[in-house]
Symmetry: C2
Subunit: 199 residues, 2 copies
């Protein structure tokens, strides 16, 4: 996986309110989000994040305190949800696939998948699941009309998580890795759109 991500738009899409808070902080937050995306919490180290961000470990401690505090700072899906849900319901299925692929490329990782790493663990990562439900599932449910909106929102969230999971899982030599976002949307969006429509 590429860990380079230099575009301002990628930072805006994945970092939210961090913009303008200083390049050191921004680099740390992006490196932390990548680290917590790619590895189980217990295996993430401040030293690794510092190396990826190109700063000293002491700078991270100075700005964020503990690993737990840093985790809490990056445990936010709001900016990803803003991008994912920025289409009217009749076009949402395709928009979700194209945006997911785009966010993954620009972020150098999956914007949602880290919540799966938190399953079954009762500690600070419980917060991550609660945030996901609030910022992704519940927000989506409110945007849906028709019966079973909460259930359909859960299943749409599942398909988004599953898309990221399978693209990550079969990388780098899988078929999905060599397929355009448009073709992925041709195949994957209809199922999503059906859940959006509430058939």
């Amino acid at each position: 996986m590429s860990t380079t991500d230099g575009s301002a738009s990628a930072r805006a899409a994945t970092s939210g309110d961090e913009a303008g808070a200083g390049s050191g902080r921004d680099a740390i937050v992006r490196a932390a989000r990548r680290a917590f995306t790619l590895r189980p919490y217990a295996e993430v180290t401040m030293r690794g994040i510092a190396a990826d961000a190109g700063v000293s470990p002491s700078l991270i401690v100075k700005r964020f305190g503990s690993k737990e505090a840093l985790f809490n700072t990056v445990a936010d899906f709001g900016a990803a949800a803003d991008a994912l849900f920025a289409a009217p319901p009749p076009e949402l299925g395709r928009h979700l696939v194209l945006t997911m692929v785009d966010l993954r490329e620009r972020f150098g990782g999956d914007p949602l998948l880290r919540v799966v790493f938190s399953l079954g663990i009762e500690d600070e990562r419980t917060l991550l699941r609660a945030r996901f439900r609030e910022q992704v599932t519940d927000r989506l449910a409110r945007a849906l009309t028709g019966p079973d909106a909460a259930l359909r929102a859960e299943l749409i969230a599942g398909q988004l998580l599953g898309l990221g999971a399978t693209l990550s899982l079969h990388r780098p030599d899988g078929a999905g890795a060599h397929t355009s976002a448009e073709r992925l949307a041709d195949l994957y969006a209809p199922g999503l759109q059906r859940l959006v429509d509430g058939a």
Copy 2:
């Protein structure tokens, strides 16, 4: 989550060739699979598995050796794939949803989701991803006809992983937790079937 699972059929569906190898071994394997399903590898302990299996830690060491060796023993999706793919293509979408829900209930955990925990980590868990590709994705691709079979198989695998992820993520108070398998299939199977059919 329930961790009780006393049925012989559940063991047959999730344990494969372990049947008849002795109840101690069987209980250890089931407890190990649950543990590696529910927690990141680094957080799984032999002592925890022993407690769940109702045996002594020394018995596990005697029968399996190291944690890594035990992991390699349970890193197998073959039995789950046998159950999931036991339907002809025209009926496969619905069968996949019903079987996934059934396996999750009987196993006391998700039969596939643990592969997601291994993402981004290059150690013994790399084996888990290779097994998943062989036993799930590649096997499914061979069963599909039409264009882009490998890609469609990856996307079907993604939807299965996503279904398990979202059911686990929104448990215990989410909408999916209170929905029948038949209703889940009504909503989730059409997207899967479309990928099976290769529209």
